[in-house]
């Protein structure tokens, strides 16, 4: 029982990371119909920038805020400079730009910071918390907390502010948005900025667990794909739910299915993607889109 609870809590902690990354993917997908394959590398690069700030002696939370800000501006610039010129091109062209960005950011990080793994600090205490016989790592609890706060802030932003409403409108119906005077291009750029911001938070929360290295996000991005697929690529809420579910499933399967263990955990994500696509392609909360051709 205690193992179960422990696995669920650590599943929730990694699930929060997957949820954030899945949400970042879904935000860009909804606005532009593009799956941003570079999402993980953008998060990784932001985390390296955070490492540089910490290395330069900045306090953790100052670094946190600075990194989030830099990531936002970086995401915005990537959209303006790299995505904008191919905006009207077929989706495949944009996907290829994203994959190119992935390769560039990955090599750039390796070139600047080397491929040697680096420890990344957690802002939360080291001392384990005992809760009714269950031992919990404070970092896990903290990461869950940070993720939930971030998700709540995003929800409030999109649900209750005019800018959030405008961004949703631009994603749903660009033509009508222009007709009410919304500068759709800038809204898409803002979407990229926000997605990069969310990714940066996820990167900083996961780095203390997986350590900092240029490929740290590649596995996590696959879990995020599984999460977004499970929850539905058309539903931000679904992506978040999918993230937490994938985290829990991954941990439970890794613990209780003997032949899988920690080594084959990533396979769980891939199996999950295939099963969802076969059984319910629109995901748990997503809506099937019908297009006239």
């Amino acid at each position: 029982m205690e193992t179960l609870l422990q696995q669920v809590v650590s599943g929730l902690a990694s699930g929060g990371i997957y949820a954030s990354m899945a949400l970042a993917l879904v935000m860009i997908y909804q606005a532009t119909d593009v799956v941003n394959f570079a999402q993980g590398e953008m998060a990784m690069f932001s985390t390296y920038l955070a490492w540089s700030c910490l290395h330069a002696g900045l306090p953790y939370w100052v670094t946190f805020v600075a990194t989030v800000g830099i990531a936002f501006v970086g995401g915005l610039l990537i959209e303006r400079v790299l995505i904008r010129p191919v905006e009207q091109a077929p989706i495949l062209a944009i996907v290829i730009v994203c994959i190119g960005l992935l390769a560039i950011l990955n090599s750039l990080a390796g070139w600047i910071y080397s491929y040697v793994i680096k420890p990344f600090p957690s802002p939360f205490p080291q001392q384990p918390v005992h809760l009714g016989g269950v031992v919990l790592a404070p970092h896990n609890l903290g990461a869950i907390g940070v993720t939930l706060v971030l998700l709540a802030l995003l929800y409030i932003f999109f649900r209750y502010t005019t800018l959030g409403l405008t961004m949703r409108a631009a994603a749903q119906n660009p033509v009508s948005s222009r007709l009410v005077g919304i500068r759709v291009g800038w809204m898409l750029a803002l979407g990229w900025g926000l997605a990069a911001l969310v990714g940066a938070v996820a990167g900083m929360m996961v780095a203390p667990v997986v350590f900092l290295e240029p490929n740290m996000m590649s596995g996590i991005l696959i879990y995020a794909f599984a999460a977004a697929t499970l929850g539905g690529f058309t539903s931000p809420g679904g992506a978040v739910l999918g993230g937490f579910l994938v985290g829990i499933i991954e941990n439970l399967v890794g613990t209780y299915v003997p032949f899988i263990g920690p080594g084959l955990k990533l396979t769980v994500a891939l199996v999950l993607i295939i099963v969802v696509l076969l059984v319910k392609p629109s995901g748990l909360l997503g809506s099937a889109t019908v297009r006239r051709v």
């Binding site: 409108a169 749903q172 222009r178 007709l179 009410v180 919304i182």
Partner: protein
Amino acid sequence: MTALLEIEHLDAYYGWIQSLHSVSLAVETGGITLILGANGAGKTTTLRAISGMIKTSGVIRFAGQRIDGKATEDIVRLGIAHAPEGRGTFVHLTVEDNLRLGAYAQKRKAQLTTDYDRVYEYFPVLAERRTQLAGTLSGGEQQMLAIARALMLRPRLLLLDEPSLGLAPTLVRWLFQMVRTINQEEGVSVLLVEQNAALALRLADQAYLLETGRVVMAGASEVFQQDETIRRSYLGY
């Protein structure tokens, strides 16, 4: 009366196909101007050209100022509201959010609540549906929402693209009367595109007939109603 909108020698292309051939027309200030024509005659293209949604050559002047070549978002800010073909409502957003977006380019945000009340007065059913998603509205209600959203801009010129499309005849009659009321009470000039010639001619002051991208007839709508060819081809009696 002077012209609020003037179009001179407008050409437009879809790919290799020329869809407008030297179209010239004017919308009188305070009036209702009608563009008649069959499917594919270039009616919607003309409205899209005014809103800067397609590339054109020729001159489009609004209140004396050149607007051809300007971005759609900037044209909206000059006070041209466009209720597009197929209504173009934000189906995943509530009625009230749709209206709020309609006022997005409007500078006087303080008047937002009175603006809601104003459009709800024209279309009371929208007030009942204000928290409903636009996609759940009936076709007629969506058309009302499209017009209401356009009014939230407090426009000087209202572009209406086939508001009667897919609506029951009694509803069309009611809607056209409402367009006349709005035109008079708001002092907004209207450029209406329609296939329903009989009703639309009764509503409009001036009319233009488009055929394969060319203006083939222009004049007061009474003249249109009495014209033999128009009667036979477009009015059907």
